[in-house]
Symmetry: C2
Subunit: 169 residues, 2 copies
């Protein structure tokens, strides 16, 4: 007998619950097929994620190529974790009349989600090594698809134990 791990799929509702509860993840964008990852805070609403940031590499890249991937996870131990992967598209919400309602909605959603969110974005301005391009901006991610997995420990008396032994000798 040894401790192993089972992995099962999350239901769509479990994925949604997790995005609502966690509100933090890693966002990947890509340019010329070179991916790039940044941590983000977000507010989730059905098929949208709202975010706020300052202009930087990720924004420049997502303006060129809106395809993104968001990974949200909750790790309780090596054998017990949940993870949701979102595939989606970036849309900027510029400071223009046309986007006023959406920007206000994003602000309310984000403030409700995390009152500290704006400090992180603003703080970059304060960095001694970064002075340029700290224009704040709102965006949203349109969710095209999402998948989720849960891992949990399982005590097994199995071939896997023997396979491991063979593999490590």
């Amino acid at each position: 007998m040894k401790l192993n791990m089972l992995i099962s799929d999350l239901t769509p509702q479990e994925c949604r619950d997790m995005l609502t509860r966690i509100g933090f993840g890693r966002l990947a964008c890509a340019r010329d097929n070179q991916p790039y990852i940044v941590p983000i805070y977000f507010a989730y609403e059905f098929d949208l994620l709202y975010g706020f940031t300052t202009v930087g590499r990720k924004i420049k890249w997502m303006r060129t190529n809106p395809k993104v991937c968001l990974a949200v996870d909750e790790v309780l131990s090596h054998f017990r974790w949940m993870s949701v992967i979102v595939m989606g598209r970036y849309e900027e919400l510029p400071n223009k009349a046309k986007f006023r309602r959406e920007r206000e909605h994003a602000l309310v959603a984000l403030e409700k989600r995390m009152p500290l969110w704006w400090r992180t974005a603003i703080a970059v301005k304060q960095s001694p090594t970064r002075h340029k391009d700290a224009e704040p901006l709102f965006y949203r991610i349109h969710i095209d698809s999402m998948t989720g997995h849960r891992a949990f420990p399982d005590a097994v008396k199995s071939k896997i134990g023997r396979a491991d032994k063979e593999r490590t000798t």
Copy 2:
């Protein structure tokens, strides 16, 4: 006076120390400019990262496009964290005579780093929802560049406080 956050660059040595210490991160790959993120354990050695996994979407994508990004972070609080971003290229270490030495080296490096690493990869075989394509494989990431940042709290009596107020009213 209010608590704010300063962000500064890590030195190359601090980046290397962090990769050695943490050994866990999020790897992004891309196909047709669509990024995809997966969590990975790795063993770091100067300009290489060694990993082990089973064949799945990420491996299929990295075989087509080897450009990857790895994000490693350590978050102590909202205002105190460190983060390293690696840009690199995927190389598979197939089970062939030509790669024997490299595969043995990868195995030793990974086992030293994390004796449990193989369980995660193997466990996927055990999943009731996944039966196909669980062939185990070694790979390495060649590091092309890396950057790191550190955030720390800073009590400031500043324009930022006033700017926040204006922004949220």
